[in-house]
């Protein structure tokens, strides 16, 4: 704040009453400082202000406190302490700024000097408020981290929920695959029927000697059901490739002649 001019001082006197009234309102709603650290940062600037010079109150005994490891218990106590200190710092510094805004008629030094001092004090207290606010944000971040790592009920619930989602997805996939299998098996049966009854399923010429392939072709054009038997009998003592062809031919022997007729 810039040093106040004489014209401003006249109207600034009005601030005194308003600031006092506001201070009264602030004090009515202010959090009663239960525990204060002696020589804390909030009162360090103005030792006589009374902020931060009260003796520390004992920590309230926490009911239902379980046997936590020392580190966890210490950590949670430190969180409580940080919370109390930061809130106290914010309230005290804010109160002191409002108090400093009060215009006093008599000052120990000149008004300009007093104005400069008040300006500097307000800057520092405002910086303290911002620092305490940032410290509170850090505390909230630490609490979030602690919650994620150590809040077992919610971690269990999150794991259970995720497992249920994944199991539901897996069951859906398997159900659809089973339905697909049933449909595809019907189509595959028809495809196989079509394939083995078509000309592409017959033994290819390069698998047989040429006379055998020609003989089979002739047999197919004149064949009846009875002709297929001597064909099979003649094929039995034959070489390997023909043996592979025989079942295919016997499979196709039914519909085959009708197609090649």
């Amino acid at each position: 704040m810039r040093p106040r001019s004489s014209r401003e001082l006249v109207s600034a006197r009005d601030f005194r009453f308003k600031a006092t009234g506001l201070l009264y309102i602030v004090k009515l709603g202010a959090v009663p400082p239960a525990a204060a650290r002696p020589g804390g940062d909030c009162g360090g600037l103005v030792p006589g202000s009374g902020a931060g010079l009260r003796p520390r109150a004992a920590w309230p005994a926490m009911a239902q406190q379980r046997a936590l490891p020392q580190s966890k218990e210490t950590l949670l106590q430190s969180y409580n302490k940080r919370l109390k200190d930061d809130v106290k710092s914010i309230m005290d510094n804010f109160t002191e700024i409002i108090k400093t805004a009060k215009i006093e008629d008599e000052t120990q030094v000149s008004r300009a000097t007093q104005g400069e001092q008040d300006n500097y004090e307000m800057h520092v207290r405002a910086a303290n408020i911002v620092r305490a606010g940032e410290s509170l944000m850090k505390l909230v971040s630490d609490l979030k981290q602690f919650l994620i790592l150590n809040d077992f009920p919610s971690v269990n619930e999150a794991i259970e929920q995720r497992s249920q989602q994944l199991r539901a997805l897996q069951e859906e996939c398997d159900r659809k695959l089973t339905a697909l299998r049933d449909e595809v098996s019907i189509d595959l049966y028809e495809l196989e029927e079509e394939y083995y009854s078509s000309s592409s399923s017959l033994c290819e010429a390069n698998d047989l000697p040429l006379c055998e392939a020609y003989w089979r072709l002739d047999l197919d054009t004149d064949s009846t059901d009875g002709l297929s038997v001597p064909l099979l009998e003649s094929l039995e003592p034959s070489a390997g490739p023909l043996q592979a062809a025989a079942p295919a031919h016997s499979h196709a022997s039914g519909p085959g002649p009708t197609e090649h007729a």
């Binding site: 606010g133 509170l136 979030k144 809040d151 996939c173 695959l177």
Partner: protein, 117 residues
């Protein structure tokens, strides 16, 4: 996310507290700015000061409640649960679906080739 679990509710409450801390600082700044003016708006001053005080108390109460809850539920032991098994099963199911899709595409390609020939 369609459903919010307990963990997310607490985390959202903490995020709300973070926003409120920002509002606290903003209210404090507004009050001091208003005080620095020659002609102050008393009603605005009172309103902002009341909001500031109420926010500070609310933040303190909420954070105390969270710390109290953590004191009750924290055990100090690491949590050893995981959803790895169900995730692996789901992954294998998706692999099965991919494999079936590949095979079906092969069959479809074969059928098309046969039809072209």
């Amino acid at each position: 996310m369609a459903t919010y679990s307990l963990a997310n509710e607490r985390l959202r409450a903490l995020e709300e507290i973070e926003r409120e801390i920002g509002a606290i600082l903003q209210n404090a700044g507004t009050v001091i700015l208003e005080l620095s003016k020659e002609k102050t708006n008393e009603r605005l001053l009172d309103r902002q000061a009341a909001a500031f005080t109420a926010s500070v108390q609310h933040v303190e109460a909420e954070l105390s409640a969270q710390i109290r809850y953590l004191t009750q539920v924290a055990t100090g032991q690491p949590h050893e649960g995981s959803s790895y098994s169900s995730r692996k099963d789901c992954q294998m199911a998706l692999k099965r679906v991919d494999y079936a899709r590949l095979k079906l595409s092969d069959v479809a390609r074969t059928c098309e080739q046969m039809l072209e020939n």
